[in-house]
């Protein structure tokens, strides 16, 4: 109890030295929470966007379908089974028919996937209803994402020649009119893809009733049982790449976390070393007055620990409004981040929970205790007579 009282007195009476340390530590504390919150928020946003616009409530894949093998597309389609047809009719699923094709923008050849989707579908959050405009004409309307637009130079209203094989392997060609460039910034529905009306694509390849992927509605009650030709892919499978990517980014976030914490702890360590050096005579006096070495070590360690606690409180007091504000309005990211392989929305909303706050606070306090204790161990070797003279033994 005594050393708590003494440590508190020392901390309060130390004035500027204390508050500078508290400022550095609390700043690191708030920054760590913000950065971790940004990663958590980004991960959640990206996953939500992926589910909303692509994955839905899970997908049935035609058994031959392999998204990493464009040659498999020729054989990875078949009739939609009755069970899934029922779900589509009930509005619980939507079919996607994928065909490999080549387009010729700016007189260059580029491989793409033509993705047929029902313009009336409500399963994934893609603005495909605009495709209805041209559905009864001879025009093949297409939607592309902003990345695709950038890589091909195509804009709304442009025509691009496309060549594909029909179901019998015969080449066919036509012009696709870009009716919309969507600013979705989600590679899984953007890169190398042109979305066109499902029936139009089926007609183009002479494959009525065919599909490659059936996307289920989000939060669907029951996954329909389907024949062996169609394989259900759940979130674990469909989001695996994304999760792996997030985990890789998490490593970077942990590095930043350690760096910030390390810098703040270095300040505390330095202060403690300096403090012991500067207060040798005081240590000697405390020994002469009857304090044991371990009480003095406890006192100095506790002073460091109090810095951590004060930083935790100060960080909460000024950090909470800042963090809450940022969580509300989000953080607008520079445009260049679009180039990342990661699907990042342009405004990130950091997400922090009580767990993040408490764990960060705990790590901060524990680390401060350790770095406060380390330099104080020299006190055990300090002879009272030397300390009184201001010498280090």
């Amino acid at each position: 109890m005594l050393i708590i009282k003494l440590a508190f007195r020392n901390i309060i009476h130390s004035g500027l030295r204390t508050w500078l340390n508290v400022l550095v530590l609390s700043f690191a504390f708030v920054l760590i929470i913000l950065i971790e919150g940004l990663y958590d928020g980004m991960s959640e946003q990206v996953k939500d966007a992926e589910i909303d616009s692509h994955v839905g409530g899970g997908q049935f894949w035609q058994k031959e379908y392999d998204p990493y093998d464009s040659f498999s597309l020729e054989r990875s389609h078949s009739e939609i089974p009755a069970e899934l047809k029922q779900e589509i009719e009930r509005g619980n699923a939507s079919a996607v028919f994928i065909v490999s094709a080549s387009i010729f923008p700016r007189n260059l050849i580029q491989s793409v996937s033509l993705k047929g989707i029902d313009p009336d579908q409500k399963i994934v959050n893609l603005p495909v209803s605009i495709l209805k405009k041209e559905i009864d004409t001879n025009v093949i309307p297409g939607i592309i994402g902003s990345r695709m637009a950038k890589s091909t130079g195509l804009q709304t209203g442009d025509y691009v020649s496309a060549r594909w094989r029909n179901i019998n392997g015969t080449f066919d060609a036509g012009d696709i009119k870009i009716v919309k460039v969507i600013d979705i910034n989600l590679p899984s529905v953007d890169k190398g893809q042109i979305w066109i009306p499902l029936e139009k694509l089926r007609n183009m390849v002479q494959a009525p009733g065919q599909a490659t992927v059936i996307t289920l509605k989000k939060n669907i009650d029951r996954i329909p049982a389907v024949s062996r030709n169609w394989i259900f892919k759940d979130y674990n499978y469909l989001l695996k790449d994304l999760n792996d990517n997030i985990n890789r980014k998490r490593l970077y976030s942990n590095f930043v976390f350690s760096l910030l914490l390390g810098m703040a702890l270095l300040a505390v360590f330095d202060t403690q070393v300096l403090s012991i050096f500067r207060r040798r005579k005081e240590i000697g006096t405390l020994m002469a007055l009857g304090m044991t070495r371990w009480s003095i070590i406890g006192l100095f360690t506790l002073e460091g620990c109090l810095l951590g606690i004060l930083a935790f409180i100060a960080g909460t007091v000024y950090g909470y409004p800042i963090l809450a504000y940022l969580a509300k309005v989000g953080l607008v990211l520079p445009r260049m981040i679009e180039r990342s392989q990661f699907a990042i929305l342009l405004t990130l909303y950091p997400k922090y929970g009580l767990r993040l706050y408490l764990i960060t606070g705990m790590i901060l306090c524990m680390s401060v205790i350790v770095v406060s204790f380390l330099p104080t161990r020299t006190i055990t070797n300090l002879k009272p007579t030397d300390a009184l003279k201001g010498k280090l033994s």
Binding site: L2, K5, H13, K281, E282, L286, A288, G290, M291, T385
Partner: protein
């Protein structure tokens, strides 16, 4: 003065390790001090005064021989026991006052009582009494940096006396003070010695201090060369 010995030093030797050879600071010192003595260890610099004082105060250990302080051999004390003895029975006064800079005068004087775990009310009474002895009740809330040298040393005396120790060890207590402050401090200590029967031991070569002593133990090259009672 009580004739019962409170400190007995037997054939005390203290060597300090130097780069090539050791330096003998105390060389077979034998003294006996009784309760209530007002005594000085006198001698030039390097004669071993402070070393002897530190050993008596259990701040240092002898190389050989023994110092029995209040029936306890300093040699046999663990760190913890030595600290306990200092807390309970010994008050220190240093040449450079050694006040804790971040504490007020009141808190500095209160500190030994905190170590003794005395309750708040008793602490406050004892601190105010000690400050009254040294005439500093009006400076209770001042910081050491706001005090003069004489005032600082009076605070150090109050801090040493507040717990009513059996022994006060004062190492060159007047070395940094002018004549008037030195006499003031010495008079205060003399009064406390009379009133409380506390044993005072000074390490000094200051003539002003020597004038107040009732016993003078002269050290030279680590040996006692003279031990006289002054009436």
């Amino acid at each position: 003065m009580n004739d019962f010995p409170i400190i007995k030093v037997n054939n005390l030797i203290k060597d300090y390790a130097m780069v090539k050879q050791s330096f003998r600071a105390l060389n077979g010192v034998n003294i006996s001090l009784n309760i209530g003595e007002f005594c000085g260890l006198v001698g030039p610099s390097g004669s071993g005064k402070t070393t002897l004082l530190n050993i008596i105060g259990a701040l240092d250990n002898p190389t050989d021989g023994d110092a029995i302080v209040m029936d306890k051999s300093v040699n046999a004390l663990s760190h913890k026991e030595a600290a306990k003895m200092r807390t309970e029975s010994i008050g220190f006064i240093f040449q450079t006052y050694n006040l804790l800079p971040v504490y007020s005068v009141f808190e500095n004087v209160e500190f030994p009582l905190l170590l003794l775990k005395i309750n708040k009310r008793e602490r406050e009474e004892a601190v105010m009494r000690a400050l009254e002895w040294v005439g500093l009740t009006g400076k209770a809330n001042s910081r050491p940096s706001q005090l003069s040298g004489g005032e600082s040393q009076r605070v150090a005396v109050a801090r040493a006396m507040v717990k009513l120790p059996k022994i006060v060890l004062a190492d060159e207590p007047t070395a940094n003070l002018d004549a008037a402050n030195s006499h003031n401090i010495l008079k205060t200590m003399q009064n406390l010695n009379h009133e409380l029967k506390t044993t005072f031991i000074f390490a000094t070569h200051d003539e002003k201090v020597i004038g107040y002593l009732r016993r003078k133990i002269v050290l030279s090259d680590g040996k006692v060369v003279d031990d006289v009672n002054i009436h």
